[in-house]
Assembly symmetry: C2
Homo-oligomer: 347 residues x 2
């Protein structure tokens, strides 16, 4: 038996952190089925060479041959580039990876850092403004651009179910619904009411009765995240709010270089560090590999390989707690490779 893992490093430091996760997975031995890796292409750099950001072959191989995948990070063009469209957004949609799970917690608070952060952002991953239904027209006073923000009952229900399930399995069992229904009464109103309705669905069978449900407008949520992050446990949000909130939460625990995520659907899971391609440090060998290794752990847990996942997490947490071998984003002076070696030692 083997576990086939598609690797899509894409751009920038994605190419430095994906190999790190690969080594970590290989080090797990019999805790997981023998991993087989398939290298796959995508990204802005690939687009500039070929005119395609996400080749069909990549999607096809992920669908047909892979049990799961790890994605690195994509660069964004600094000016409009005709024909370019983000491959990560496309992949999430193509594979119907409707939930983006982003846990943020501090293992070893630095002085001055927010204590007690332990939350998960559950981000809807397929709609909202990410449907990319945009158009440009000529109006009486010049150009007018319009984008559609789509919120459906179906997508809100399934992300709501994912969030309730997650909340149920955490000690505090709190769920905060993020919205802006004081302005978007119809779209965010539908999101909020649908998520609120999850415990009453026939197949919920009363199991979510012990989850405490709160709400917070997205603007106040960002404010409270900075002021009293300990009040949050699971936060469920439409796509764009989730994007912003997870970056906000990341800022509380030291570095985006620590924050993992999985994009998950009903039958596929793709790990992905929350950080970007970081063109300023790409190629210097100092990218933080920990977010990606943690993303691999989340991916394994989602597939049921808890022992392997726990070993990766424990190793990462130990490295952070010891604080000796860290990359510059965490105030250290170590190289990516040294951090990888340290993690491998602890695995």
């Amino acid at each position: 038996e083997s576990l086939t893992i598609g690797l899509i490093p894409a751009d920038g430091i994605g190419r430095e952190v994906i190999p790190a996760a690969r080594h970590a997975l290989e080090a797990l031995g019999s805790d997981i089925p023998k991993p087989e890796f398939i290298d796959l292409l995508a990204g802005f750099e690939y687009f500039t060479r070929t005119g395609t950001a996400l080749p069909e072959e990549t999607v096809q191989i992920l669908r047909q041959d892979c049990d799961c995948a790890l994605f690195g990070s994509v660069s964004s063009p600094s000016r409009k580039v005709v024909g370019y469209s983000s491959p990560i957004v496309a992949l999430r949609k193509e594979l119907d990876l409707y939930a983006n799970i982003r846990p943020v917690f501090s293992v070893a608070p630095n002085p001055g850092e927010q204590p007690n952060v332990d939350l998960v952002v559950v981000r809807e991953n397929t709609e909202c403004l990410y449907v990319k239904d945009e158009n440009l027209s000529e109006g009486p006073h010049g150009k007018e651009a319009r984008a559609t923000r789509l919120i459906t009952e179906r997508a809100s229900r399934r992300i709501g179910q994912t969030a309730f399930e997650l909340a149920l399995n955490r000690p505090r069992k709190h769920l905060t619904i993020i919205h802006k229904s004081n302005v978007l009464s119809i779209t965010d109103g539908l999101f909020r009411e649908t998520v609120r309705g999850v415990p009453g669905l026939p197949d919920s069978n009363g199991k979510y009765d012990h989850v405490a449900v709160m709400e917070q407008l997205v603007d106040s949520a960002v404010y409270r995240l900075f002021r009293e992050p300990q009040v949050f446990d699971v936060m469920v949000a439409p796509n764009l709010y989730g994007d912003i909130l997870s970056d906000a939460a990341a800022a509380l625990v030291g570095s985006l270089g620590l924050i993992p995520s999985v994009n998950q659907g009903d039958d596929f899971v793709m790990g992905e560090p929350v950080h970007g391609s970081a063109p300023d440090i790409a190629g210097k060998g100092i990218a933080n590999p920990l977010a990606t290794i943690r993303s691999a752990a989340l991916m394994l847990r989602q597939l049921g390989y808890d022992t392997g996942a726990n070993r990766l997490d424990k190793a990462v947490n130990q490295v952070i707690r010891e604080g000796q071998i860290l990359t510059p984003d965490l105030g250290g002076t170590s190289k990516t490779q040294e951090v990888i070696d340290e993690v491998l030692k602890k695995i």
Copy 2:
């Protein structure tokens, strides 16, 4: 000569902080024309009594009789209420107050607080998702809600001009354009390109050549705001991003209770504290009046009454710096009235 100021306390603590600003304005004596106040109705509470959130009379009196206005804060219904629509969003549009200026800076950093925060969020105030063009339909898998996000060249240009002008008059002369054009290439692409184009407009006459222009994706902007807020000077953003960013920035300097704003158009200005109606503390006499007094100062400055504006600001800053008479949101134990009295003493 007199200065006619419309007062719209609206809901919750709006009713406690608007009188504070009134007292402060009255204390300015001959620094401003004799202020005349007109009390005006609006709000969610008013809606529940009358079925209207923003009576036409309020808009008419503002248009015909007032030189400027001060708005308190509105409550948001906790569930969908048929026919209700936010009066502040409506007012901004009705009076074409297209720029929402929100300065955030720390006067007296608390221990553990971010140092060197001195920025202004320039928020487009009339479009983006705030056009409230939403609809609900029945799709194959249940309800589908759609909202239109509108970005026009005209609105982007005038908010860009406001932002460049502001940046030009600040010591650092930096402007950061906030967008998410890696996903919204058409709408945010138009915003970004139009703002970038402002220095090249015929009536700019090269005067913005010394403004340094940067860009930041909205998610990274929130991250950087928490990690290194000192990098930001003026930030210009489409409506919703500006809403979120200003709350994020507020969290850096102690309390939303300190953050003022003005909604300004070509011929009207309305001051408004950034905080909400705070139902949890409304009626207790402990609301922080400083954001509203500062909003009155911004309003005066916009009207050209710099001496009066400076006196209000100085008094507020002195109260904060002394740290003796502060409301609970700033860690103090004083009442709203005591803070007002202290400000009046310093004026």
